[in-house]
Amino acid sequence: MKTLQTNRRGFLAGATATLALIAAAPSLAAGKTLNILSHRVHQTSLGEGEADLMAAWKQANDADLAFTTFDSNPLMDRLFREASLPETEFGVGYLVDNRPTSEIAKLFEPLDYWMEKDAIADFDDIAPGLIKGMTIDGKLIGIPVRTATQALFCNLDLLEQAGFSAPPATLEELVAQAQKITDDKIATGMILASDLAVFPVMFARAFGGDFLTPDFKLLPDAAAMEQALTVLAGMFANGALPRSYATTKNDDQVTWMQQGRAAFTVLPFARAAQLNDPEQSKFSGRITAVGFPVAEALAGKTPMATVVEAWAMVIPTNAKDKELAWSYIKQVASPETTLGMALNGNGPARVSTFSDPKLVEKNPLAAIEAEALANGRGAFPPFPEAARAQALFLEEVQLAVLGRKSPAEAVEAIAARVAPLLP
């Protein structure tokens, strides 16, 4: 009894000491601290401890990095609120490319001045499309740092069981394969989240249409959108999309694929590692990615404009130490750090990084990803009412997929309801 008590006290003391150590850790080093508002993935792709890509920078600048991390949407909200204050503690924020409207852009430091003063190495290598996305009203407000390019993921084992030797080359093949796998009771054909515009937009683009073009044309090809919704509704009605479609989220896609409950899904290329992680996945090494296929009628003619989401680093206009913030951005955007992050699974913003031998060796999908990225663009352009427009679009898509509305009616409703929100 006595020993037990000592042990417990010893354990408590140990735990307290560890907690104290953890709490004290940031104060051990450095004269300056750069506060960064980001998603956790931005922090982890920079590496930690031994593999810290920023170690040299930290030493050279006698500075430490303090990351405050949130999930995507909350992160944007927090970033905008911080940037609206008279002064913020945060020097650098990470911004998604579908958010910067003219109003939002005013909250962030124009970076052209800093580029002239102290330019980023080999700046032209950063994909021009991404730079354009961060140039608002003629001012560059963010430096692209991460791309997430959507790919079609396939479980090769399940495909083989249904008698398919290769991933689909056209959208029609994809639908047929998904249906066969469903009908043979091997698995559910495909799993897609219902709360993101990405997926219906991809299907519409496969038919040569779109939801909203970069120059704000709503439904440039209404027939293509109708075809897309018809296909999705058909898949749902025939069981190739699960009954739980309307409440499926992004994370469900990953677990379904890992468990072999679905044969196909659409996720960013970077998810390949997680889908094949032997710790979590029952099909480790058997889940591969290809570019999302276009419809037969377009095959070989129009390349697929897959959905790409990009993140950029920004400096709030009310930040305190902009000098240090720019120095950080410059380092992270450099070719070496970009490669280092890519090796940690970050989708690079530099074109040349994709063909770097080290990355090609580590990530066999790099070439396919580079190709998809070359033709890709955002799901829709940023504008003040974009979030509301997306919600309306998704509501109509869900109604059509669940069979509560005909695809034609849904397309009509999208046109009527979204149009008043456009800038």
Partner: protein, 277 residues
């Protein structure tokens, strides 16, 4: 007659089994899932037997240091908010119990009416104020917020507890020359202790699990455990469910232990309070 008692007993047994299943099944599931190897967590059909592993707890410990710091922050905030709420509610409850006046009566209805305002509403204007005061990302701001959203309920409950204490006691003390504060400290607080503990349970559970305010008003330093857990569910780099369930179990354990430890006082305290309402 005997058949009837048997039937009643059987009915009770079924009811008890249903209650147990309803209350505990989801919790048991979280805990067992945290001990399953990663691949088995979402296995179809669910695996009821498995080789228990602590791997998720190891991962949690090695990779999510921020979670344990979050637990510490939660603890600091919970203790602070509980003390503040309990002291404020006891003082106010005492006044409402012992003094009758039209404005007091209106003010207690006002207390409840104010509570109708959803917390999410006040976050918009509070954010710039908190920043201006330099309170953003501190324990203090959460302590104040959590306490505030429980003082109205705390006051109503404390009033009913203190109503149970015979007035003769404080009148006697007053005749002996005790000040109001002394009466409160020496007479009321000891006698209303079960009630105070009951109020404390409500605040502790709320403060320990609260998400919205913590999410809006903290960043790095005062980030609480539920926030870290929700970040684990975040979408970009995927969820490691095993670690998530391990973290949930660790986060749940202390407050569950506290509720279990306090259930005696909770019921006893509310019994004293509820006789009159």
């Amino acid at each position: 007659m005997r058949a009837e008692t048997l039937l009643i007993r059987l009915g009770k047994a079924v009811a008890v089994a249903a209650i147990l299943f309803w209350s505990l099944f989801p919790i048991v599931f979280i805990v067992t899932s945290s001990l399953k190897p990663g691949q088995d967590i979402f296995a179809v059909p669910p695996q009821w037997t498995f080789q228990p592993t602590l791997q998720h707890y190891v991962t949690l410990w090695t990779q999510w240091g921020v979670f344990f710091r979050g637990l510490w922050n939660s603890a600091v905030v919970t203790v602070g908010a509980t003390l503040l709420a309990v002291i404020a509610s006891t003082c106010a409850g005492y006044v409402f119990s012992r003094h009758a006046a039209r404005w007091l009566e209106l003010s207690i209805v006002g207390l409840i009416a104010v509570r109708l305002i959803p917390p999410i509403v006040v976050t918009l204007p509070l954010f710039p104020i908190v920043n201006r005061l330099g309170l953003s990302d501190t324990h203090l701001v959460l302590i104040i917020l959590y306490a505030t959203f429980f003082v109205s309920m705390g006051t109503v409950l404390m009033r009913t507890f203190i109503d149970q204490i015979p007035r003769d006691l404080d009148e006697a003390a007053a005749i002996d020359g005790a000040s109001r504060l002394t009466i409160l400290r020496r007479v009321i607080v000891p006698l209303a202790a079960p009630g105070i503990l009951a109020v404390a349970v409500f605040v502790v559970v709320f403060a320990w699990n609260e998400f919205l305010f913590a999410f809006i008003f903290t960043g790095t330093n005062a980030k609480t455990a539920p926030l870290v857990i929700s970040e684990m569910i975040g979408s970009i780099d995927g969820v490691d469910w095993g670690v998530l369930f391990a973290a949930s179990t660790v986060q749940l354990a202390p407050v569950l232990a506290f509720v279990i430890l306090m259930n005696r006082y909770l019921v006893a305290g509310l019994t004293a309070g509820a006789t009159k309402g």
